[in-house]
């Protein structure tokens, strides 16, 4: 898994590539939560390069969404591949995590 961090104003964009599974989700959680603790509150997770997600990855997203809600922050996802999208649909996560077709629309929604 590779995470690339960029910024658009006060929005943090994390592009996640590879696999978000039980072996990599801890690293993802640490990176995401260290930024939440530093006061970052708006995140776009660009999953265009994400090949695979399991419940271990979903667990981190649920935890982050709950934490950001408390802090009046927001989190959205973009560019999901079909298979990853299906996992979100099956787990019901698509109902509470905003999913956008592109990075541009994600950023617009948080601006």
């Amino acid at each position: 898994m590779l995470i690339t961090e960029t910024r658009e104003g006060n929005i943090v964009v994390l592009a996640v590539e590879g696999r978000l599974d039980s072996n990599t989700s801890d690293q993802f959680e640490k990176q995401l939560f260290s930024m939440v603790e530093q006061g970052e509150a708006r995140f776009v997770l660009d999953f265009g390069g994400l090949d695979y997600i399991s419940s271990a990855g979903l667990r981190v997203l649920l935890k982050a969404a709950k934490e950001l809600k408390k802090k009046d922050g927001r989190l959205c996802l973009c560019s999901l591949r079909d298979y990853v999208r299906e996992v979100f649909d099956m787990s019901g996560f698509a109902a509470f995590l905003p999913i956008h077709p592109s990075l541009e629309t994600s950023i617009k929604s948080l601006s």
Partner: protein, 135 residues
């Protein structure tokens, strides 16, 4: 039927997937089916890793065999505490997200993706078998 014994820890996950996936690829399973199987293998295996042997080391014995009509079945056997994942409460997908718990999500995905899931307790062993139709 072939079998493989691995330690019940996360480092074994790759070996678990490599034990099964090449056979499915050889049978021309679709890319989507291969993804489904990988996900089910991870969810079942990590469930055993986290819950079967609290505070102790243990092993998992995997078997892979072909059932009738080109069905690929994978068996997971552990000697841990009795646990039938099929009896775990269902995930409430309609629940407000702030109320949602992560527990049970992996099993929910297994039930959705595998074509058949069977559990039995045999002596000191939990045996879970998941099957997929290779169309």
């Amino acid at each position: 039927m072939k079998s493989l014994e691995v330690g019940a820890h996360l480092d074994s996950l790759k070996a678990v997937q490599e034990f099964v996936i090449p056979d499915v690829e050889a049978m021309n399973g679709s890319e989507e089916l291969i993804q489904d199987i990988k996900l089910v293998l991870e969810e079942v295996f990590t469930n055993i890793v986290f819950y079967a042997y609290p505070g102790a080391a243990g092993t998992v014995r995997l078997t892979c065999f072909w059932g009738p009509e080109g069905t690929c079945c994978i068996g997971f056997e552990d000697n841990g505490i009795p646990f039938n994942p099929l009896e775990f409460h269902d995930v409430d997908l309609e629940q407000e997200f702030s109320e949602r718990e992560i527990g049970g999500l992996g099993i929910h995905l297994v039930k959705r993706l595998a074509h058949e899931v069977r559990y039995r307790r045999e002596g000191q062993s939990n045996i879970l078998i998941v099957c997929f139709r290779i169309d």
